[in-house]
């Protein structure tokens, strides 16, 4: 074989191959896998990798979106369009009790909203369809307790995570065995960084929600954060006014809980450039992470993704 013709793999090639390998292992070893699709950039990359992993077959699992009913409208449009374009199955689930109770992040606060509409809803959905493995787009560079999590993260029948007793993972050998009712959370993007995700989106021309690009949008400054007024459910407090500002989002979640950043970056190149010079971390705009230094670990133990 001609040694000269062997191409050198860059770090994006390596990350891609690793993620694809993880997805195939889980599909081969689990009975009912599902891919959690949160519509953001990480989900976009994960979905793209799934299309690659099983080609020419379609990904042999559905997508699941846990809809808190408070997502940006543009996210929902994007979700439905992408699922149709790619011809993949999309399941959408919202916690019916939460809807009945009228849970709102404005009224009930971010903590309760996240607990009921995200954590609880996710558990209900996984139980409802009896999924035994759920792919998630979380990355280890996002947050300190995620940095400690395995690629295959084991959950008890109550969906709890025990960070002190994780299964060791060697080489590419994943132990996907579990007892009845137990399940796995699988993180194929574990070793990707925010920069890798954007570089890969650029390299592969992966469509992402337009909210990532700067545009004039109606925002309100509340407790130091720019909140976009996405629908009539957002009521102005005394002294607040809607301003039109050039903003974009670095991460996407529920609109009342996701802070916009002032930015002129309206293209992929501009976003990548802005990120490289940024002095703050990605999840800074996520209000739910700031309920205490270990709040992510706590949420994860309770079953949050």
């Amino acid at each position: 074989m001609n040694a000269l013709a062997i191409r050198k793999l860059g770090h994006l090639d390596r990350l891609e191959a690793e993620s694809i390998h993880i997805m195939r292992e889980v599909v081969a070893e689990c009975e009912r896998p599902v891919m959690l699709y949160s519509i953001g950039k990480d989900s976009a990359v994960m979905l793209h990798l799934a299309m690659k992993a099983f080609y020419p077959s379609k990904p042999p699992f559905p997508l699941l979106h846990v809809d808190t009913t408070w997502k940006f409208r543009e996210m929902i449009e994007f979700r439905d369009r992408r699922a149709k374009e790619l011809g993949v199955d999309l399941l959408v689930y919202s916690n019916p009790h939460g809807i009945e109770m009228g849970i709102s992040p404005f009224v009930h606060g971010s903590k309760l909203h996240t607990e009921i509409m995200k954590t609880e809803a996710l558990k209900q959905a996984l139980d409802k369809w009896r999924f035994d493995a759920a792919f998630g787009g979380a990355r280890r560079d996002e947050e300190k307790s995620r940095a400690k999590e395995r690629v295959l993260s084991f959950r008890t029948a109550q969906h709890r995570w025990d960070p002190k007793n994780q299964r060791p993972e060697f080489w590419r050998l994943y132990n996907a065995r579990k007892g009845p009712g137990e399940s796995l959370r699988v993180f194929p993007l574990s070793n990707w960084t925010e920069a890798d995700v954007w570089d890969y989106i650029a390299r592969e021309n992966i469509p992402v929600v337009p909210l990532y690009f700067a545009k004039e949008r109606p925002v309100v400054r509340r407790e130091g954060t720019l909140i976009m007024v996405d629908d009539e459910r957002m009521k102005l407090l005394p002294g607040e006014a809607i301003e039109q500002k050039m903003v974009r989002f670095r991460t996407l979640g529920c609109y009342p809980l996701t802070g916009a950043i002032e930015s002129e970056a309206a293209s992929l190149d501009a976003i990548i450039d802005e990120m490289r010079h940024s002095r703050s971390s990605e999840r800074q705009g996520r209000l739910i992470d700031h309920d205490g230094s270990t709040s992510m670990e706590q949420k994860k133990q309770e079953g949050y993704f």
């Binding site: 074989m1 191959a17 099983f54 790619l86 400690k148 060791p168 132990n175 971390s281």
Partner: protein
């Protein structure tokens, strides 16, 4: 464009150039309090890679949990679990990602506490280089030796010994030289290809990113500069082709592909590959990806291969180079690191996972234990000794079915395996293959020779196939033999009845005798080839 079940290929070549840098995966390890987390935290800080809001949180946390008085406690940048922050120790591997102008790094920051050795081994299994931290006041400790032995055993070939806390020994060159010498003496059996010893003060950043002013006697580069430039070869690129089949890709009747991860060598359309354990050779037709067919795939890529013939292949099979094929066997000699508190039970059925194959297995015997202080094999202390939590030993395993593998020194991915408890589903041991043996080795060797020149044999397991062939050969020879016997006896006696009786009796007796004779010869051939096919790691240390 959308087929009912098929995935639509991409229409335009999408690739657009982005900065792709070489990647270095390394692990940091050392004893409790050697300052590993501090080292990583400080390196991120000095290299300007820690972000402002994280630094603000660091200031807050340093006041609350810090162990450095009024100074920033850089360990808190990386110790992420609540229990870790409270106890001030690292429990689990934390992965860190950073990039400089020259290189991209994935760091596995691993726990020092002996109780968490398995987490440390997890980090070592994917690392190319290990940074071993040593406290200048304490020198090489048993725990340093233990970590060195484990990283060496898991195939890490490059080490940096970071002698930390030099400020507490007055930046003494003598102290440093002594540690350097001690390590060289201890590590001479461990087969490291490169070793760099560097003195530093992690909390002040001396010799991390910038040279330490108080250690001018040290001529080498600071740690980060060394890591940016150190050359680590990817041995799997030049290894023989290895491709464990992960998933059979069958979207429709007219496509049958085998999805997998190339973990050795490379492959192109037209290459002849051997299917193991089947033992049959065939040709690669296409290398299929979402971005179009490739004209080659190299170690480190996930692809889907199609073959020129319809052959029944499933997950757990392996495609490999017919020139240097992998080994097939249901008996393994291997090194084991025991990972759980409940000790290894001999004769208990565990699940063994190697590559994409899982099979029940029992450990027949532990044949030696590995001295943690030296990394060398030592005799057992008592008969029937097994392995306790964190112990390393050599063992004989018997598997329910054959597996395809390589000695671990030749290929990390096809030579590494795990043992899983069938009740608790815990990963109880990690193992490294030294050699594989098949009970039908002689017959298999015979078969492999005949395969390289023929095609279209029935697809049977090698052992069964060889028995069948031996029988057919014996029977055909018997027909010729019996006809001759009949003619000879008839020639002497002119008695057709007697001739027929003698020929019939002889046929039955000799058929059995021939078969037995063939098997005995086959077995002695196995003995003759054993010496060259079962490399031993004993003399090489690890």
């Amino acid at each position: 464009m959308h087929g009912a079940s098929a995935n639509t290929p991409r229409e335009a070549p999408p690739h657009r150039p982005v900065a792709d840098k070489p990647l270095l995966r390394f692990i940091t390890c050392g004893s409790v309090d050697d300052g590993k987390s501090t080292l990583i935290g400080r390196m991120l800080y000095d290299a300007g890679l820690a972000q402002d809001d994280l630094l603000e949180a660091l200031e807050r946390d340093s006041k609350k949990h810090g162990t450095q008085g009024d100074d920033l406690d850089f360990a808190l940048l990386v110790d992420g679990l609540a229990a870790e922050r409270e106890q001030g120790i690292t429990i689990d591997v934390a992965y860190r990602y950073f990039a400089t102008e020259k290189r991209k790094f994935i760091v596995a920051d691993t726990p020092g506490h002996e109780q968490y050795t398995r987490n440390m081994a997890t980090g070592a299994s994917t690392a190319e280089l290990a940074v071993l931290l040593v406290d200048a006041r304490k020198g090489i400790l048993p725990q340093t030796q233990r970590h060195s032995v484990i990283v060496s055993m898991l195939g890490v070939r490059h080490v940096v010994v970071a002698v930390n806390k030099m400020d507490l020994v007055d930046y003494s060159e003598d102290v440093f030289r002594k540690i350097e010498k001690d390590f060289a003496e201890f590590a001479k059996h461990l087969r490291f290809l490169s070793t760099y010893v560097v003195p530093l003060v992690a909390k002040d950043g001396d010799n991390l990113v910038k040279s330490g002013a108080k250690m001018e006697w040290h001529k080498g580069p600071p740690l980060l500069a060394y890591l940016e430039n150190v050359a680590v070869e990817d041995a799997s690129i030049v290894a023989p082709f290895r491709y464990p089949v992960q998933w059979v890709n069958r979207p429709s009747h007219d496509f049958r592909g085998f999805s997998g991860f190339v973990c050795g060598g490379n492959v192109r359309p037209g290459d002849v590959v051997r299917i193991l354990p089947l033992g049959r050779d065939t040709q690669v037709a296409r290398v299929v990806t979402y971005d179009g067919d490739l004209d080659s795939a190299v170690s480190g890529q996930s692809v889907t291969l199609t073959l020129t013939e319809e052959i029944d292949i499933s997950r757990g099979d392996l495609l490999c180079s017919p020139v240097s094929p992998a080994k097939v066997g249901d008996r393994l000699k291997a090194k084991l690191l025991w990972l759980v508190r409940e000790p290894l039970a001999l004769e208990k059925s565990y699940l063994l996972k190697i590559g994409t194959k899982t099979t029940p297995a029992i450990v027949k015997a532990v044949t030696a234990r590995i001295e943690i202080e030296t990394g060398l094999a030592a005799p057992l202390r008592e008969e029937g000794e097994t392995l306790a939590f964190n112990a390393i030993g050599e063992a004989d395993l018997a598997l329910d079915s054959v597996v395809v593998c390589d000695p671990y020194v030749e290929n990390r991915e096809t030579g590494g395996f795990i043992l899983i408890d069938r009740i608790t589903n815990e990963t109880v041991a990690v193992g490294m293959v030294e050699s594989a043996q098949s009970p039908e080795r002689g017959a298999t060797a015979l078969l492999e020779a005949s395969y390289s020149s023929m095609e279209g044999l029935p697809t049977l397991p090698p052992s069964m196939l060889s028995r069948r062939r031996a029988l057919a050969k014996a029977a055909s020879w018997r027909v010729v033999g019996s006809a001759l016997t009949f003619l000879i006896v008839y020639g002497f006696t002119r008695d057709a009845g007697l001739s027929l009786s003698i020929a019939a009796v002889e046929a039955v007796v000799k058929l059995g005798a021939y078969f037995a004779h063939e098997r005995i010869w086959a077995r002695s051939e196995q003995g003759a080839s054993d010496g060259e096919n079962t490399p031993s790691l004993h003399d090489a240390g690890l």
